[in-house]
């Protein structure tokens, strides 16, 4: 069976920025079964302090080496404990859990990966898998400030074009990442879908955009998640976008609401990975229920941990959505 509950060996636990850490774990059975978008549950302490395991999206999957990475920010006592763990330690880990992202296997396509804060993590192994499958990847990373962003170097090494936005304006676009994403989609729409999507154009691995961040948009106005009318009357008829075939997003709910709003407007398929308070990660406690609107329009409670965490962007129902 796929799940490894035997424990992992902690190889490295390093600080990426103040309060931001990356852990490298050796767990061959778990890693062999893992797909991008899946997560693991870590037990942090003995004697039920804290009681529940903590969920972390896999931020790196190296199947050959049997290694995986998780990236975490110290936000409470549990993650503070984790930040003090030394290399060489055995870690009680459960996973891989959840469904993960999917992508087309044949036709090379163009994917936009949109990450908000810690939601960047699961997009990193996805970028790697997409590039290996020959797809073109543009990344849009947003966070409160520059030191909340990570993975830029990896994305560059993979040949992904990345744009960043920070809410405090410390780097990239000053505001939310949906600003640069919207502009990118609009530019693609202007170019015309068919022209840009001509066979072979702009999709060959290794020959596409330069790596690194795009600071050209830094002077733009602060974007608001509410600026996009999304599915409102008349506004839902978008031009389509010639720049992107599919959007993958992970981040907090307001962020995902804005991203899926753009996807509706541009009629783009989207896969979104949700974050919510999680109890067991196994589908048993029903603590992480989220409202999902299925194809028939029926709103149902689904478990993020077991039915997700990745859902079709069209199905996620936001309470304040028209």
């Amino acid at each position: 069976m796929a799940e490894n509950t035997e424990g992992a060996f902690l190889e490295k636990n390093q600080s990426l920025a103040p309060g931001l850490y990356e852990m490298t774990l050796l767990a061959p059975a778990l890693v062999a079964a893992a797909r991008p978008g899946q997560f693991v549950m870590l037990r942090l302490g003995e004697n039920w302090a804290p009681f529940l395991r903590r969920p972390f999206g896999l931020a790196g999957i190296a199947a050959g080496a049997g290694r995986c990475q998780i990236v975490y920010r110290v936000v409470g006592e549990g993650t503070a404990q984790m930040s003090r763990w030394q290399a060489g330690r055995q870690v009680d880990i459960l996973g891989p859990l959840g469904n993960g992202f999917t992508w087309p296997g044949v036709e090379p396509g163009r994917a936009a990966l949109v990450g908000g804060g810690m939601g960047i993590a699961p997009l990193l192994p996805l970028a790697q898998a997409l590039r290996q499958a020959g797809h073109q990847v543009s990344a849009f990373l947003g966070g409160a400030s520059l030191d909340r962003l990570f993975g830029l170097g990896q994305l560059g090494d993979l040949g992904c074009r990345a744009q960043i936005a920070t809410e405090d304006g410390s780097a990239g676009f000053a505001g939310l990442i949906t600003g640069p994403l919207e502009r990118y989609l609009l530019a693609g729409a202007g170019a015309g879908r068919d022209a840009v999507a001509a066979p072979g154009a702009d999709t060959a691995a290794g020959t596409d955009h330069a790596a690194g961040t795009d600071h050209a948009a830094a002077a733009g106005p602060r974007a608001s998640a509410d600026a996009d009318p999304g599915g409102g009357p008349g506004a839902g008829i978008g031009p389509g976008s010639g720049a992107v075939d599919i959007v993958y997003a992970c981040g907090p709910m307001p962020f995902l609401r804005a991203v899926t709003g753009l996807c509706r407007r541009f009629r783009l398929p989207a896969q979104v990975s949700l974050e919510e308070r999680m109890g067991c990660g196994l589908g048993a406690c029903m603590g992480c229920a989220v409202k999902i609107k299925d194809a028939s329009g029926t709103i149902q409670q689904r478990r993020i941990c077991y039915d997700g965490p990745v859902f079709d962007g069209k199905e996620v129902f936001f309470l304040d959505q028209p």
Partner: protein, 303 residues
């Protein structure tokens, strides 16, 4: 040779470690870790007459050595259970106990009627102690007269062993236990979760959307143990004990307090292998201590 088999009022189980209702779904989520036939029985997620979406989020809050939940009986309804879940559980060789929840005494009776004669069902557990729903729920479990009326209404349609699940949120659990015993219960299960709450000091608001919820986990084990110990002395019915059991030693304490079987709830959330680990640990411990069955240690800590 050590045997873990137990008999509780006509209910024979290969081992005395059950999966508690609300902590094990309908068994499917754990089937990738071990077969559904491994627990002594599976007490399925609380069933209602109509499907229920449950409460708004946040529905859980972590607390010291435990957690609060206010799921609100999210379930597909008794008919969908009969159609989609019970046949699968039966095919997997599981022993299934249906946990039932009504808004009214008549509704409890109606759910029992629909379950009457269902193939693959081993017992009914009448939940008069859910703290997370308005109308019904714990309301029936805090008044001896109402608790007895619910028991009678279910008994009328229940030829199977009838379990009544008691609430700890009462001044005198023994009074409730006596009332349901007099009304035809065969087995008692205790305790359900303890009503509690948690507040976020940053937002100055309760963490749970429904403000209060049920506390479970090792934090409530001493409360559960005391209530089992008291009830076992006063009422001559087998007891299925639950409340913070996460280890073989925890289970052993409850047998010593008079329980005939135990059930694991929140323990499943922190370790999906919790139930089989307790089963094998108990077997080792009994053999090591020179006992050949659970009944030999049952109630040794009673006065």
């Amino acid at each position: 040779m050590t045997s873990l088999e137990v008999r509780l009022a006509g209910l024979t189980l290969p081992n005395p470690v059950l999966a508690a209702s609300g902590a094990f779904g309908f068994g499917r989520e754990f089937a990738r870790y071990y077969p559904p036939s491994v627990p002594g029985a599976i007490m399925v997620k609380g069933l209602t007459l109509a499907p229920r979406a449950g409460n708004d989020s946040p529905r859980i809050a972590e607390t010291p050595a435990g957690m609060l939940n206010s799921i609100g009986l999210q379930n597909p309804g008794v008919d969908a259970f009969l159609r989609e879940e019970l046949p699968w559980l039966k095919s997997q060789g599981a022993r299934v106990i249906a946990n039932i929840n009504g808004h009214s005494i008549a509704e409890f009776g109606e759910i029992a009627r629909r379950l009457e004669g269902a193939d693959g069902l081993s017992a009914l557990e009448v939940n008069i102690s859910c703290p997370n729903v308005s109308g019904g729920g714990m309301f029936f479990g805090t008044d001896p007269r109402l608790a007895a009326q619910v028991t009678e209404a279910v008994r009328e349609h229940c030829a199977l062993p009838l379990i009544v699940k008691l609430s700890p949120n009462v001044a005198d659990i023994v009074a409730i236990a006596r009332a349901v015993a007099g009304a035809g219960a065969d087995i008692l299960s205790l305790i359900n979760t303890v009503l509690g709450m948690a507040i976020d000091i940053k937002t100055r608001r309760p963490i749970l959307a429904r403000q209060v919820g049920g506390l479970s986990g090792p934090a409530i084990k001493p409360i559960a143990l005391r209530m089992v110990w008291e009830t076992a002395q006063a009422v001559n019915l087998p007891i299925i004990a639950m409340g913070g059991i996460v280890s073989p030693a925890d289970a052993a304490e409850f047998f010593l307090a008079g329980a005939a079987a135990v059930a694991v709830g929140a323990g499943n959330f922190i370790d999906p292998h919790c139930v089989p680990k307790i089963i094998s640990g108990l077997e080792r411990w009994l053999a090591q201590e020179g006992y050949s069955s659970i009944s030999e240690i049952r109630g040794l800590a009673l006065p």
